[in-house]
């Protein structure tokens, strides 16, 4: 897979130059963080819940194959049609096939990161199927011909004025930049689509192995409309969405919704236990569950990388990350931006193309502290940096530089000598001292006339 992450440096620099973007992202992430803080602090046992969540996610990932077959068995018992897809291509093919077989020409879709990962929409559209994103944020992004810039708030990079202009242009409406009016316009346009679409596609937040229950979390009711009204519901998930039991749902809902949007629970949580049965008054006649591997089973076997699969996609690590806050999501060039994106993009997709991502971090660790399932995110960035070096992706010059550094640091005399050359240069060049990457942004510090070690020679105790 080719990734836009290969141009990370360029994209990040461009994003930094966009002061407007920074203000929008800061405002949105700041609001989410403040709300999260409130509902997390009211729980005395938040730390224990995180720990429990971590342990349960670990159990699933460590025993992925057996949980997967248990889930599949339960889902089939409930009447679901389960499809396993090894890679992106076959997942897309399976989904297209289901749609084709019921000769539908339109599908309504609720939010799903896996379908973003698949680039499902463009494939379906190429095959003549209209795909309508119904989550408001996704709808906006789709109208703009863009991709989501945040995993739980897709249109976070857009202001209400941006959206007003977009609606004016694409929907032929008068310009109004009132969020309520814009929302009402989207509702009106999408209602009919829901009523007439014969296929609805949704993502899955959790899949309980013991009961086969699919849990879908949302606020707008668009996912309910997508999964209840059409004749066919296609639920798309990746293998690691599984949790051991139905009984674990309250825990994971708590961790997810409080971290994601700062809500005690979202407006709607749908626990789907199967298609319409003969005594049900509603619901789809067919429930298809498409389960994507896409490299995850490989990650699950890796002693370090598997931890990234614990992620429940709450997006909190993005909100808290000072890098994400500064550049937004698009610069990462991956479906998954922010800290978890920087961790999972290289290992799941293409390490060579995304090798800048693990380095684009000050390693402050704020992400690790906020993660509801305690993924050691910033340490994983370090593991991946090592892997990138070991694979030889780094430049020859950097390697030489590192060798010279090592050679210098193996002798205090050489360190002192280097320091004194620095002093001399600073003396001669003054404020024009060149230090790539440091100046011209910051003043170069004055280098002391005498180093600590040389001063210590005069110390009565150490004096020579």
């Amino acid at each position: 897979m080719n990734l836009k992450s290969a141009q990370f440096k360029l994209q990040a620099r461009k994003a930094i130059g966009d002061a407007d973007l920074r203000i929008k992202v800061k405002k949105a992430t700041g609001t989410s963080l403040a709300k999260r803080k409130q509902v997390v602090e009211e729980l005395a046992d938040w730390e224990e819940l995180r720990q429990k969540g971590h342990e349960l996610r670990k159990i699933v990932v460590d025993n992925l194959d057996s949980y997967l077959s248990q889930f599949i068995e339960s889902a089939r018992r409930n009447g679901g049609i389960v499809h396993e897809a090894d890679d992106h291509k076959s997942a897309k093919h399976i989904i297209y096939d289901i749609i084709r077989r019921v000769s539908a020409d339109t599908v309504v879709k609720s939010k799903s990161m896996i379908t973003e990962e698949l680039h499902l929409n463009s494939m379906l559209e190429e095959n003549g199927i209209r795909v309508i994103e119904t989550d408001l944020g996704e709808y906006i992004v789709q109208l703009a011909g863009e991709t989501p810039s945040h995993i739980t708030a897709p249109a976070l990079h857009k202001s209400k004025e941006d959206i007003a202009r977009l609606f004016q242009e694409k929907l032929n409406m008068p310009y109004f930049d009132d969020p309520a009016k814009l929302t009402a316009a989207a509702r009106e346009r999408l209602r009919d689509e829901f009523l007439h679409a014969r296929v609805g596609i949704s993502g899955v937040n959790f899949a309980s192995a013991d009961t086969g229950t699919l849990t879908i979390v949302e606020n707008e009711a668009n996912a309910r409309l997508c999964t209840i009204l059409p004749e066919v519901h296609i639920a798309v998930m990746s293998v690691e969405k599984i949790i051991p039991s139905f009984d674990d749902l309250p825990l994971f809902l708590k961790l997810l919704t409080r971290s994601a949007t700062g809500q005690r629970i979202t407006s709607y949580v749908s626990l789907v236990n199967g298609p319409r049965s003969h005594h049900n008054p509603d619901g789809p006649r067919q429930l298809h569950i498409v389960i994507l591997d896409g490299g995850r089973k490989r990650l699950a076997k890796h002693p370090e990388w598997k931890e990234a699969l614990y992620c429940i996609r709450c997006g909190a690590c993005m909100n808290i990350c000072p890098i994400y806050q500064s550049i937004g999501g698009h610069a990462y060039g991956s479906v998954y931006p922010g800290p978890i994106g920087a961790v999972i993009t290289p290992t799941l997709f293409n390490m060579k193309d995304s090798q800048d991502l693990p380095f684009a971090s000050s390693l402050c660790g704020a992400c690790t502290d906020i993660c509801p399932v305690k993924i050691d995110l910033h340490h994983h960035l370090l593991f991946e940096r090592r892997e990138i070096v070991n694979r030889g992706y780094k430049s020859f010059i950097e390697k030489i530089g590192m060798a010279v550094w090592r050679w210098t640091m193996l002798s205090s005399g050489r360190l002192e000598f280097t320091g004194r050359i620095g002093w001399l240069l600073r003396k001669v060049l003054g404020k024009n001292m060149p230090a790539p990457g440091w100046t011209p942004h910051r003043q170069f510090p004055v280098i002391a006339l005498r180093s600590f070690r040389s001063l210590m020679k005069n110390d009565t105790k150490y004096g020579t």
């Binding site: 990040a12 000072p322 000050s362 205090s412 320091g419 620095g422 230090a435 790539p436 002391a448 210590m456």
Partner: protein
């Protein structure tokens, strides 16, 4: 008498020797006989953070050789203490070296942690008239979980008004090599920190890592902002007569 071995990171040694001198003075004032071994160079963190674990390990072995017989190792940087305490165990040392590493890990302390928790100093007779903000560097705050100790020391200074920054737990954007690899992002983060410092209306910020302080000071100077960013040890040491 305690004989802590001073671990003076390369930046302190070459750029901020005054921090080292102040540390000697402080430790002596608190009744220690601090030791300094001039063979020491660097803990290996730059290579470790850059992903070059082999180079980091080789330099770390030099560190271990220098400090292996020390009773206590006192670091003048929270970040370098983190390297030793948290990241050394991740380097692939031979089994034999590993034993020494385990010992070194448990006897290495960040200096404010050492002063407050090992020496039991929480009150000493100095005074300062003015407002001071403490800067939490990320490694000391999130890896070592040291936040109260430096504040305790600052509060014990008579007349000093300790101000909390509204973005106290936000990274300043230094991040080692990150500062040079992604200068635009690093600077954007630093500017936010400076804004927070300005809002707090302080012109003196103290911290436990000269590297972050160097970044903030360098940024402030470039912008003509009146700010002094100083290592806490240097600040406290200068207060002692």
């Amino acid at each position: 008498m305690r004989t802590p071995h001073l671990f003076v990171p390369c930046i302190v040694d070459q750029l901020y020797p005054a921090t080292g001198i102040a540390a000697m003075k402080l430790l002596r004032a608190f009744g220690c006989d601090p030791q300094y071994d001039p063979r020491q160079t660097c803990c290996g963190q730059p290579a470790f953070n850059a992903g070059y674990h082999d180079d980091a390990r080789i330099v770390a072995e030099h560190f271990i050789e220098v400090f292996k017989d020390a009773d206590e190792i006192v670091s003048l940087s929270g970040s370098c203490a983190t390297m030793v305490k948290v990241f050394y165990p991740q380097l692939n040392f031979s089994e034999k070296v590993n034993e020494t590493v385990r010992a070194i890990t448990s006897k290495t302390f960040e200096i404010t942690d050492y002063i407050v928790n090992k020496l039991g100093v929480t009150d000493f007779d100095v005074s300062y008239d003015g407002r001071v903000a403490y800067h939490d560097s990320c490694h000391i705050m999130r890896e070592l979980r040291i936040t109260g100790e430096p504040r305790k020391l600052l509060r014990s200074v008579k007349g000093l008004e300790l101000v909390e920054l509204d973005l106290a737990d936000r990274c300043c954007g230094f991040g080692g090599l990150f500062a040079a690899k992604f200068p635009e992002i690093s600077v954007a983060m630093g500017e936010e920190k400076l804004a927070s410092i300005q809002r707090a209306e302080v012109d003196l910020v103290v911290g436990c890592d000269n590297s972050c302080l160097m970044h903030l000071q360098g940024l402030a100077e470039k912008r003509g902002m009146n700010l002094q960013a100083k290592h806490i040890v240097e600040f406290l040491g200068n207060l002692i007569k």
